[in-house]
Amino acid sequence: MRQRQNVSLLMKKEVVVAVRSCRYQILLSLTFPALMQWVLMQKLLGVTSKMGASAALIPKEMAVTLLLMYLAPILIPFLANPLLSKSIIEERASGGLMVTLTSGINTGFLWAVKTLGVFIFCYCIYCVFLLVDVIAIVYFLKLGASLSWFTLVSVVFISPLCALSITVLMSCMNWAFRSAAMISSFLPLVLGMWLITLNYKQLSLLRQVSAATVAACIVLLICGLIVSKVSRARIVGL
């Protein structure tokens, strides 16, 4: 019970630090996903409405599902990266990480707490964005009928799982390598560009979702293994 209380306290600290120290970064990080969401909405839904159901490149239902499913893998890593950088890189530079790690805490546990704390915070913001999207789809675009149970499960669990795997990958890079901040910053950007330039014609949604889920689990497993092998000296930047 005490351990559980402490885990929540440690995660809360990550969120408090993130909100207090990265206000502008948070706002800036949300700009790009919001912009991409707008472009996707124009591209997917605009195409279907202008050309009519018969001429549409993809069905309306799939367009709506894709729109919602792209949100988490774009928004969460974009938002998580500056927060994780703050948490890991700055603590490393200030000597705080050395103090924490030499207190006897398990390094993997500390990494997991930091990463999950940031992820949960980002997930909450994602839920707000998701709600806005759903409201827009149902009330403004009048496409509420296109929302299925499959979409719901995908956007609540599977998409965030993919986002978690990207977040964990960035976190793992920052944790294990002193100068990985630049590379990890490009990761969500590259992913975002790839998503926006998807070839709609050859898209098989179910196949893509399955592949993404498997890939996410593999990434999580590999990152977990890497983190468990990294020495304290490397983590603190010696």
């Binding site: 600290k13 207090r20 120290s21 200030s94 207190s103 398990n106 010696l238």
Partner: protein
């Protein structure tokens, strides 16, 4: 017999071609305050990092509470309080939140953490700033918060690496007083590295003098001073003004420094050494107003030991 808390046996640490430590051996006993002194780059921080399990020795053995710190840091960490040169505080938290965070790291009960945090903030004189963000704190105040964090889990061993660097007199005094209290009242062992010799001299029971990765001298501070030649200064204040020539004519074969009416002699530590010089001055008729003994400081000892080894 006191338990050995920290033990370095013939430890060597190499970084590529650089030998940071060369066959270093020493032990720290339970309840003592042990000071490791030496110039920058002599291997003090490497010693601390080996003790904290951050480095693996190239050869030799490091043990803390009879365990290898690399593989048993979880057990050792529970007994350990660490204070480094950089305070390592998170600027976005308040002092109280910062201590609560470390309470969670040490798996302490929340109610205990809050009570202990308030006690410690009072001890380091920061009660009124408990709810202020740490980014508004000066370096000295941050270092005091760091000291409070170091004591949060009631450690049995406190390891400090250059804790006095860049601190004002008040903050230095706070740290010294807290350390002395912890050591004398709770029997806490303190391992301290510094190049501020005055602080180490004041507080340490034993010191080791290190240079270029080697321990040149080790022992009880008072014993080391006593065993050292040329470590005592006697200041003699004359009853009336005499010119340099007049004094030189009276004691032509003595070496001293003159400053107004004060003559300063560096003599051997024994009572005989002091008596010999006094007898000589009285015999030649120098008018003596007062005599002041000044024991050698750790600084004198440090310079002497490093000079003796060819530097």
């Amino acid at each position: 017999m006191s338990q050995v808390v920290v033990s370095f046996i013939d430890v060597e640490k190499r970084f590529a071609s650089i030998r940071a430590l060369c066959g270093t051996s020493f032990s720290v006993l339970e309840g003592e305050i042990f000071g490791l002194i030496g110039p920058n780059g002599c291997g003090k921080t490497t010693t601390v990092r080996l003790m904290l399990g951050l480095y693996k020795p190239t050869s030799g053995k490091v043990s803390v509470y009879e365990r290898d710190p690399q593989s048993h840091l979880h057990e050792i960490g529970q007994k350990l309080g660490i204070m480094l040169e950089l305070p390592g505080v998170n600027e976005s938290l308040t002092a109280l939140e910062y201590l609560e965070y470390y309470g969670a790291i040490f798996d302490m009960r929340r109610s205990d953490v809050e009570k202990r945090s308030r006690e410690l903030l009072e001890l380091v004189g920061l009660t009124e700033r408990a709810h202020s963000l740490l980014k508004t704190f000066s370096k000295g105040m941050r270092q005091r918060v760091s000291l409070a964090r170091c004591l949060l889990n009631s450690p049995r061993l406190i390891v400090m690496d250059e804790p006095f660097d860049g601190l004002d007199v008040d903050s230095r005094r706070t740290i010294l007083d807290v350390l002395a209290k912890e050591s004398h009242e709770r029997g806490v062992t303190v391992f301290l590295t510094s190049h501020n010799l005055a602080e180490v001299d004041e507080i340490s029971d034993r010191v080791a003098i290190m240079k270029k990765g080697e321990v040149l001298a080790i022992g009880n501070t008072a014993e080391l001073k006593a065993a050292s030649p040329n470590r005592k200064t006697v200041r003699i204040v004359l009853a009336r003004d005499l010119t340099e020539e007049e004094i030189a004519a009276l004691i032509p074969d003595c070496t001293y420094q003159q400053s107004g009416r004060t003559l300063q002699f560096n003599i051997e530590a024994s009572a005989a050494g002091k008596n010999a010089i006094l007898s000589r001055l009285i015999a030649v008729g120098l008018p003596i107003a007062s005599v002041h003994d000044e024991s050698a400081t750790l600084e004198d000892l440090y310079f002497e030991v490093t000079k003796r080894t060819g530097e």
